[in-house]
Amino acid sequence: MDTSLLLSQFLSGLSRGMVLFLIASGLSLIFGVMNILNFAHASLWLVGAYFCYSFWVLLQGYGFGMWVSIGLAALTLAAIGWVIEVVLIRRVYDRELPEQLLLTYAMVLIIGDLIKLTWGVEDRIIARPPLVEGPVFFFGIPFDSYFIFVILVGFAVAIGLWWFLQKTKYGHIVRAAVFSREMVSALGIPIPRIYTGVFVLGIFIAGLAGGVQAPVGSITLGMDMAIVVQAFCVVVIGGFGSLLGTLVGSIIVGEIYAFSILFWPQGALVLIFVVTAVVLIIRPWGLFGTPMRA
């Protein structure tokens, strides 16, 4: 077991973690602010990947087609997120937890079938532009150059979200809403509009994640099912509503996966759930969360 192999495994874990981060950050944001656990988050992520594919087919003649498609997919998903929030989520703000969970779970089933109706059952593959087609070499070890892009997008979104939450007025309102909705509302800020904004932002990032995921490999029906539970694990490990926690949690889960593939292939997914269960038992609010809302 030499260091170069470990390094390449580390980088692949990091890129896997970054995809998870892009999904989980929206999930965590929506739960932190709206207190709604969105089961359908990864389903919308997959819709983003399929939209990216469709845009790419339309723009196939252009060299920049794939990059534009990723952005268009994110924007399309933001629009879809807005419709879902206004039509469905808004109606269950003050319902009990199980009903909210069921609503988003029902969305998983509906979205899954709508994908099947729209894009059919065959796998979709995006041919990458030359820039990210081949491998790059780190100390003589080949590494998928597209993964570098994935890692960069992940960190860019992390920094962007951090800047939004810490430095802008709306970010401050969102953070305040995590602590006390009543107080924010009492200051005359329309809570439903904040909720809609947060939901749209979360789904936008999910769409971006889908777009970024699309060229990684083939886009397959049912990809969302395994990912959504792993995204829950990330959010649990990091702590609900904590951006830093989500980032650390994603890297932990990504690396656990990458390294157990190396040492104990059958145990990769089992190990993720063991770690999640241990964190939930010892620190239910996660590594970086606050016990306030536990």
């Binding site: 937890l97 609503l103 779970y105 099912m225 269960a277 939930l280």
Partner: protein
């Protein structure tokens, strides 16, 4: 007991059912019974204890695998396999539940989900023992239960017996303690009840009956697969309970009838069953928050209230004249 005369009626209808309907619908009826028991056991945690388990399929799957493995690998007769399924699922629920009952609300839901997925991946990956994603084939019930009708009667009696036991548990002091914990765990602790231990016992009992349901499933379906443990499967009893109504004892059973019947009907002419049930669930969540039973109870109350009003109105008119 006079209030429950209709139960006897339902049982008599269930007894003569196979003479009236075709073999396909007998299969559907077996499915209704097994999944109904699964949903009722889930509702011991959800309706009576007030916690949402999103990993209840783990115990259903363990029960199914206990019976499946014993029958296929050791040729143990089915009547011995079923108690073994309950014990295996109970042990599993004891280990997982020990940690789960320490949490409540969303954390309880996620921890049960995590344990459910853990069980799923163990069964999925442990190829040499469980057959991995190939599942287990050739779980053939004994000769006297081979026909659909015979297996239907066998399931009917097992499920009916299980429901009676669960009914007695839910109406016992223990069952009412669970309701107290649901309403206010702090006050329950103040009167000297070990809340966590009670919750754990309830969790284990619920897991055992889920295991029994799972044990019945294998010989009925002739094969089992790791998907029985997956989180979609955990969603099924949640759907049934919400459709039927979580606050009545028979709500999950009513939900199972509606869900399974609808599934058999819809899958007859379209593959888009998830889309259909998804729309049904959204409709129920948005417009019938108490489930179907809750909805009808509400209607009955309104009709009764109207009848009373009319009666009161008439009598006051008489007084006036």
């Amino acid at each position: 007991m006079k209030r429950y005369w209709w139960l006897g009626l339902v049982f008599i209808v269930a007894l003569i059912l196979p003479f009236v309907i075709g073999e396909f619908w007998v299969h559907v009826a077996v499915e209704i019974l097994i999944l109904g028991l699964f949903a009722v056991s889930f509702n011991m945690i959800f309706g009576y204890m007030g916690q949402l388990s999103f990993g209840h399929a783990a115990y259903y799957g363990v029960g199914a695998y206990a019976t499946g493995l014993l029958m296929v690998k050791a040729s143990v007769p089915l009547p011995i396999c079923l108690p073994a399924s309950m014990i295996a699922a109970g042990i599993c629920a004891l280990i997982f539940g020990y940690f789960c009952v320490r949490l409540t609300g969303i954390y309880f839901a996620i921890l049960t989900l995590a344990f459910g997925q853990l069980m799923y991946y163990i069964i999925f990956q442990w190829y040499s023992f469980t057959g991995g994603d190939d599942g287990l084939q050739g779980i053939i019930p004994p000769d006297f239960l081979f026909s659909a009708t015979a297996y239907y009667y066998f399931t009917l009696f097992v499920v009916a017996a299980a429901l009676i036991v669960i009914w007695y548990i839910s109406e016992s002091p223990f069952g009412y303690t669970m309701r107290t914990i649901r309403e206010n765990p702090d006050r329950t602790r103040f009167i000297g009840i070990n809340v966590k231990r009670y919750m754990l016992i309830n969790f284990v009992i619920a897991g055992m009956f889920a295991g029994l349901a799972g044990g019945l499933w294998g010989p009925f379906n002739r094969s089992i697969a790791p998907d029985l443990c997956n989180w979609h499967q955990s969603g099924t009893p949640v759907f049934m309970t919400v459709i039927g109504g979580p606050l009545g004892f028979f709500g999950p059973m009513v939900g199972s009838v509606i869900y399974t019947f609808l599934m058999a009907f819809v899958t007859g002419f379209t593959e888009y069953w998830p889309l259909t049930i998804g729309l049904v669930i959204i409709f129920v969540v948005l417009f019938m928050p108490g489930g179907v039973l809750g909805f009808f109870e509400e209607r009955v109350k309104i009709i009764r209230a109207r009848a009373l009003e009319v009666g009161a109105g008439e009598s006051s008119e008489k007084e006036n004249s």
